[in-house]
């Protein structure tokens, strides 16, 4: 039987083009803030979990070695977890396993990326095998657009309608990012701006796509015993779900997407969630592409399959709606990939502990954090609540 796991501190850096600091200095910034938030010091930590994108992103292979001092990891077990886009949620899960196992009472979890130091799409293109898929799976925009086109076609969603819903999501994310001091893209945009922006990978346009960001995020996890002893604002991990798929991109169904469906199902069952629309107060859905966010609504049971657009049109997923999604401005406005999934976790923690400032969803008690990675190959979910 797993032990209960709490999150007792989070730290995020401001994101964007962070040439003002080195890679370890960026990590130090997030980790220091997590320690301040938790009222702890590095000596209190028993184990460290760290991760990022494939190291070709920054040109330092195994960067967790380079970050070690910035995490106060000297003299402690240090493990790297990396699953591409889902790295951040995999990190959170790895930290959870460390504490839930009963092995450790306090664990530091760190994700970071400095995407301006390398070639992000070039790095991601080399994630594909060298013999078959590499020339054709053109980085993230290529893959996600293949998926989006298939999704819209499967359910006969008119091009005009799906583009409008995507544009509304883009506007929502950009509006919300203005309330998040850590967000990267902070501009006011209109639906017409999105619809008229340049095609990047049809149907995806410039304002349907996340930026590449520099940024870091740190989270401190504690056992129930330790969390109660610390007596600070605490969020509780109620359920985790993770699912992978076969290596070949074109083998599985990416519309009725089993890894996303299964990840949600197992997290819901652990957390006792039977009706996500009712039981969740917010969701931080990994949304590097507007179109894909709607596909996730369906896989996570927020609506029936083929009805993702409805939730946008009815305002359900907007701030003030029934199930606000990505009130941080989401991945769409901030994407330092190794940190991104952990930012989703941190944001939900901030809401359920009523520390989300201007972007607070009033009265939020339970939220969902999600990230997706690999070549559309992995999905991970964490359900976080204010009550044990």
């Amino acid at each position: 039987m797993a032990q209960a796991v709490a999150i007792v501190g989070t730290g995020q850096t401001e994101c964007g083009r962070r040439t003002d600091v080195s890679y370890p200095e960026l990590v130090y910034e997030a980790v220091s803030r997590a320690f301040d938030d938790a009222g702890l010091v590095p000596d209190d930590i028993e184990a460290v979990v760290a991760g990022s994108m494939p190291p070709a992103m920054e040109g330092v292979n195994n960067p967790h070695l380079y970050w070690a001092d910035a995490m106060g990891a000297g003299g402690k077990p240090l493990i790297r977890t990396a699953t591409c886009g889902s790295t951040g949620i995999s990190l959170a899960h790895t930290g959870f396993y460390h504490v839930a196992s009963g092995m450790f009472d306090l664990v530091l979890v760190v994700g970071a990326e400095k995407m301006y130091e390398g070639d992000p799409q070039g790095t991601m293109a080399t994630v594909a095998d060298p013999f078959f898929q590499r020339p054709f799976l053109a980085g993230a925009p290529g893959i996600f657009s293949l998926q989006s086109n298939e999704w819209a076609h499967r359910y006969g969603i008119e091009e005009k309608r799906v583009r409008m819903a995507a544009a509304q999501l883009s506007v929502r994310n950009h509006d919300d990012a203005l309330l998040n001091p850590y967000a990267h893209i902070r501009i006011k945009i209109t639906v017409d701006d999105v619809l008229n922006s340049r095609i990047i990978a049809y149907p995806v346009r410039l304002l349907d796509v996340c930026p590449a960001s520099d940024g870091a995020c740190a989270v401190i996890m504690a056992s129930e015993r330790m969390a109660k002893k610390l007596g600070r604002p605490t969020a509780w991990i109620k359920g985790v779900g993770y699912c992978g798929e076969q290596a070949f991109f074109s083998e599985g169904d990416k519309v009725v997407w089993q890894s996303a469906i299964n990840a949600a199902k197992s997290a819901y069952s652990q957390a006792g969630i039977t009706n996500p629309r009712k039981d969740l107060d917010l969701a931080e859905v990994y949304n590097p592409f507007t179109f894909q966010e709607m596909l996730f609504y369906e896989c996570f049971g927020f609506c029936d399959f083929g009805h993702g657009c409805d939730l946008v049109e009815q305002g359900v997923v907007m701030r003030g709606g029934d199930l606000p999604c990505d009130p941080s401005g989401g991945t769409l406005c901030t994407n330092p990939i190794g940190a991104t999934g952990l930012q989703r976790v941190s944001e939900v923690v901030l809401h359920v502990t009523e520390k989300a400032g201007d972007r607070q969803i009033p009265g939020a008690k339970t939220g969902l954090a999600h990230a997706m990675g690999g070549l559309d190959q992995f999905n991970g979910i964490m359900i976080i609540s204010s009550v044990l």
Partner: protein, 154 residues
């Protein structure tokens, strides 16, 4: 005194010697004869392409070679209109997942022979479910790009 961070340029270029293994080697030998080969799994009965030495679902060896068609239908497609390091050609171009007749796994490849003069109207020219056929290169060296692209037919 505030010091502005100095930016140092670097470059990593590393050579690799990737072993294809015998199954992929044979798969590409057959490309020279314009044949696309898969292996059938005895357990789930799927025809896997490219030919594999073991089934991705059943974890059993697959040794039964079968030829699949070089014609098929477009499962999905995307117009690539951005640049990145290591890109196979200058954008814009179209890639897609092709469900070849006789195969149970899609093949990612280029979709060509489509006018790309107006990107806004490209969705009217490429169609999910549309039929395509491989256009083979004259000189074939046993490589995925021995197929130039898949061309819409009828």
């Amino acid at each position: 005194m505030a010091v502005k961070s100095r930016i140092v340029k670097g470059f990593i270029s590393l050579p690799y010697n990737w072993s294809m293994g015998p199954t992929t080697t044979r798969f590409y030998e057959e490309f020279k004869n314009k044949r696309i080969m898969g292996t059938r799994c005895e357990k789930c009965n799927r025809v896997l392409i490219p030919a594999r030495s073991f089934c991705s679902g059943c974890f059993v060896e697959t040794t039964n070679w079968v030829q699949v068609s070089d014609e098929g239908t477009i499962r999905t497609w995307v117009l690539i209109n951005f640049s990145y390091e290591g890109q196979p050609m200058a954008p814009p171009y179209i890639t897609g997942i092709i469900d070849l007749d006789g195969a149970d796994v899609g093949l990612p490849h280029f979709v060509g022979g489509v006018e790309l003069d107006d990107l806004e109207t490209v969705a009217k020219k490429v169609r999910i479910g549309g039929r395509v056929k491989a256009v083979w290169k004259e000189n074939r060296e046993g490589h995925i790009l021995d197929i130039d692209y898949f061309k819409p037919i009828n």
